[in-house]
Symmetry: C2
Subunit: 148 residues, 2 copies
C-alpha cells in the first residue's frame, strides 16, 4: 500500500475531537438539556493538562470525569476546556486540552467516541463512576441519509 501522505487517521481523529469540542461548547451555551450527560476520560500526563497535584498522584495515567449534575464554570476554548468539579467536597478547577481526551461518552443516547485504545482498559479506577459503559464506536456507515 502507498504511503499515506494525508495521514487520514489523524484527519479523522482531529475531526472527531471537534465533535467533543462542539458538544461541550453547546453545553456551555445552553446547559445540559434533556438527559444528556458526559463521561470524559483524559490522560492526566498529557501536555496542557492542568489539574491539582493530588489528582495527578491518584490518577497518574488516566482519569474519568462526569459532567452531569455538579459542574461549574465550563469554558470551552480553542484547544482546551476548563471546568470546576467537586472532589471530596472541595471545588477544583481542571484544564483539559481536547488532545488529551481518550474517550467521550454520552450514555443518555449511547453515543461514544474513543481516541485511544488503552482508554478501554484504564490502569486506574475512574475518578467518578465505575459504571462507565463500554465505548461504542460510531461508524460513518450508520449515519442516516441526509435530507435531500
Amino acid at each position: 500500500m502507498a504511503q499515506d501522505l494525508f495521514d487520514y487517521p489523524k484527519m479523522v481523529e482531529t475531526a472527531l475531537r471537534n465533535v467533543v469540542r462542539e458538544a461541550l461548547a453547546r453545553t456551555q451555551r445552553d446547559g445540559l438539556r434533556g438527559a444528556h450527560h458526559f463521561y470524559l476520560t483524559f490522560r492526566t500526563g498529557a501536555p496542557g493538562v492542568a489539574i491539582p497535584d493530588h489528582l495527578v498522584i491518584k490518577y497518574p495515567e488516566e482519569m474519568t470525569i462526569v459532567l452531569q449534575h455538579q459542574f461549574w464554570g465550563l469554558e470551552v476554548r480553542d484547544q482546551d476546556f476548563l471546568v470546576t468539579l467537586s472532589f471530596e467536597n472541595r471545588p477544583e478547577q481542571l484544564t483539559i486540552p481536547f488532545s488529551a481526551i481518550a474517550s467521550f461518552a454520552d450514555p443518555s443516547v449511547s453515543f461514544a467516541l474513543q481516541f485511544d485504545v488503552s482508554a478501554a482498559v484504564p490502569r486506574d479506577t475512574p475518578a467518578l463512576p465505575t459504571t462507565m459503559p463500554a465505548p461504542q464506536h460510531v461508524e460513518p456507515a450508520e449515519i442516516p441519509r441526509p435530507a435531500a
Copy 2:
C-alpha cells in the same frame, strides 16, 4: 433511550465531511502527491450541484468522478468545490457542495468515507471507473494512539 438533542450522528457526519474538504483543499494547494487519488460520488440532484445538463440526464441520481491524472481548476470553497473534468474530450466544470457527497475514497491507502448507504449501490453506472472499490469504513477505534 433519551432524545438526542445534540444530534450526534449529524455532528459526526459534518465533521467527516470536513475531512473530505481538507483533503481537497490540500490537493488544491499541493497537488496530488504520491499515489493519492480520489473517487468522489455525489448526488447529482442535491441542492447546489451545478453540472452540465447532459450529465444530469445521464446520471439522474448519483455520479462518481475520479481526481487523479486529468483534472483542472480545483477550487475548494467553504461549502463546495469546483473542478473541471473531461467528458468525451470536452472540458466541463462541475460545482459540488460537500453536502452532496455520498462517498469519498482514496484507494491508494484504502481509505473511504461513506455518507449515504444508497451510495454503495448506485443505480447508474459510474461516470468514470467501473472498478470503484467497496467502501471501507473508518472506525475511530482504529486510530493510532497519538504521541503523548
